[in-house]
């Protein structure tokens, strides 16, 4: 063992109980930091995972980020116009076949086209405002988790001929509709058709389960009274993190608003960032408190070992050597605390992961979502060792700068 580390070890070993208390402080700090990070990251990952599964990674709609320039504005260089009737905005993605073909050329994932309409679902005397989503069932299965969300029937059954619908289980409950019943869907244009319910889904998102009706794209186009019209392109990417880039490129190419899942959930993701900042601040505070424990013990040791320091200097040790000894003491305690803390953190995470929750509405047992991420262990341990080393540095510097003659005179 290196001489300076050897001396440092003998110092902290000589104060076993206080050293253990200091190490325990770091251990608890690191352990709880890791446990907390595992839980928060786990819940975030699960939430984002659900989000990514539940919604398209990129959604192209027939909207535009900036309203189109009106003909009067193009013709006259005026500050404002009053009393004009704006040009009719023909909704829907223009040349949908060409647009989809252009996207398919480079998008690294699957595409699904659709027509989204606002309408009313009526069964018996009950009505509910709904969103009618016309899709190509096989494509829709590739870009969403709807296939896994089916609780009755299969999504592929939409592909059969006729006016068929798959609705959310909450909507079915509200309308008292069961499989095989026919409900009436009416759009804002006044067109209406009877649709036979061939499946129920449960996504877990109340608004969706209460207000979304899937029909075949052709059926939706009939309801809209517009052949071949689409106003919605959904993209599922092999790498969800590429969504921002893909959305930007799609928007530039088609001119229609393309929204990535990150943009759609910007507020939520920002909230996660704030939460993580708070978490790491708390973790940092815990480790600073642990650092005070180490500062305390190293200060005591430097005070106790003042005579030894003077002797080492008389033997030819440099001030930097003396500093290194006490820095090593802080670092050793920080390192030991980090190792034990990592083990404690792993244990805490395992315990949290094993805790079971049973909810009435769910048949499956739910566990606390946790993540085992080496980054948490590295950050917590790194911060702990850094805090411990800094805590050791202050008394180390003071000890190294002392005049050995004063101490030797005092001792003799």
């Amino acid at each position: 063992m290196h001489l300076l580390v050897d001396i440092a070890y003998t110092h902290i070993h000589g104060r076993g109980r206080q050293t253990l208390v200091s190490i325990a402080g770091v251990t608890l700090g690191v352990g709880f930091a890791i446990g907390m990070a595992a839980l928060m990251q786990g819940s975030q990952d699960e939430f984002v995972g659900t989000l990514i599964d539940a919604m398209p990674h990129v959604q192209v709609t027939d909207e535009q980020r900036t309203p189109p320039v009106q003909p009067a504005a193009r013709a006259f260089d005026a500050v404002a116009f009053r009393g004009l009737r704006p040009e009719d905005d023909i909704r829907g993605i223009l040349n949908p076949v060409a647009a989809v073909a252009r996207l398919r050329g480079w998008v690294p994932g699957s595409l699904s086209i659709g027509l989204s309409l606002q309408g009313v679902a009526r069964y018996g005397g009950t009505e509910r405002a709904v969103q009618i989503m016309g899709v190509e069932p096989r494509d829709a299965l590739k870009v969403s988790a709807i296939g896994e969300d089916m609780v009755e029937g299969r999504f592929e059954e939409l592909d059969a001929a006729g006016f068929l619908a798959i609705i959310g289980d909450r909507l079915a409950k509200r309308l008292s509709v069961t499989l095989g019943d026919s409900l009436r869907l009416t759009t804002a244009t006044g067109l209406a058709r009877q649709f036979k319910v061939v499946g129920l889904f449960h996504s877990g998102v109340v608004a969706t389960d209460e207000g979304l009706v899937y029909v075949r794209l052709k059926a939706a186009q009939v309801l809209a009274g517009r052949q071949n019209a689409i106003n919605d392109i959904r993209i599922r990417l092999r790498d969800p993190n590429a969504a921002r880039l893909v959305a930007a490129r799609a928007e530039e190419m088609l001119g229609y608003k393309s929204v990535s899942w990150q943009e759609a959930n910007e507020d939520l993701l920002e909230a996660f960032q704030i939460r993580n900042t708070i978490m790491y601040t708390v973790v940092g505070a815990i480790l600073v408190v642990a650092g005070f424990g180490i500062f305390n013990i190293v200060s005591i040791i430097t005070h106790e070992k003042a005579r030894d320091i003077a002797i080492l200097k008389s033997l030819g040790f440099r001030e930097a050597d003396i500093r290194s000894i006490f820095l090593a003491e802080g670092a050793l305690m920080g390192l030991a605390g980090s190792l034990f803390g990592a083990a404690l953190g792993y244990g805490l995470t395992s315990i949290m992961a094993s805790i079971e929750f049973e909810f009435e509405q769910q048949t499956e047992v739910t566990h606390l979502p946790v993540t085992y991420n080496w980054v948490h262990y590295t950050i917590a341990s790194g911060l702990a060792v850094a805090a411990a080393t800094i805590a050791g540095y202050l008394p180390a510097r003071k000890a190294s700068e002392g005049n050995p003659v004063d101490i030797i005179r005092g001792a003799t």
Partner: protein, 232 residues
Amino acid sequence: MTALVEARGVTRILPETVPVTLVEDIDLTVGHGELVAITGPSGSGKSSLLYLLGLLDTPTEGEVLFDGQPTHELEKDAKSAIRLAGIGFVFQFHFLLPEFTVLGNVMIPMRRLGRWPRTEAEQRAAAILESLGLGDHMHKRPDQISGGQRQRVAVARALANDPPLILADEPTGSLDSHASEQVFQILREVPARGDKSIVAVTHDLDIANRMDRRVHLVDGRIVLDEQMHANV
């Protein structure tokens, strides 16, 4: 005899509210292989002069030369390097590190200097301890041996790096007469270990008279510097 360590007009004043003069205008040359005793009443500046010669303290005026090299402008680290390889200290109290064994204490300066590989350093330290009659105590801790033995370990530690100069501050001051004689004999024989010089502060006139030379201080000034040829 060439000079190993030399004080030229050295004065040391402590900058207290009322400045305290520890030594004043000291001119002293210690040659290779010399055995010098520094004597004087308490507070005469004996230890202060020793610390100045050992580069542990810095003169307020004048300069100290070690092996012909002026030291007053050297950085602290350079002075540490000179102490590590060139000077061995023995104090009134042994000042051994209590957590290390006798052998470990003697090896500390050797490990810091790094001149010898670990195994060779261990053998060398063991040989020094053997020669000082401590062969049976090498693996004991300082609190497991007697006061006289501890002081002999301190001498062994001072000899560890084979320095040309040993500075001893009342090395027998805390020992009984028997242990005191043992330690003195060891120090007396040190020059024979390769032209080493010893400067020892002592109150004991019997010991001082058995050295090569005696330097007597009063109130921080040298008042007597005599060769003790009859005792060499």
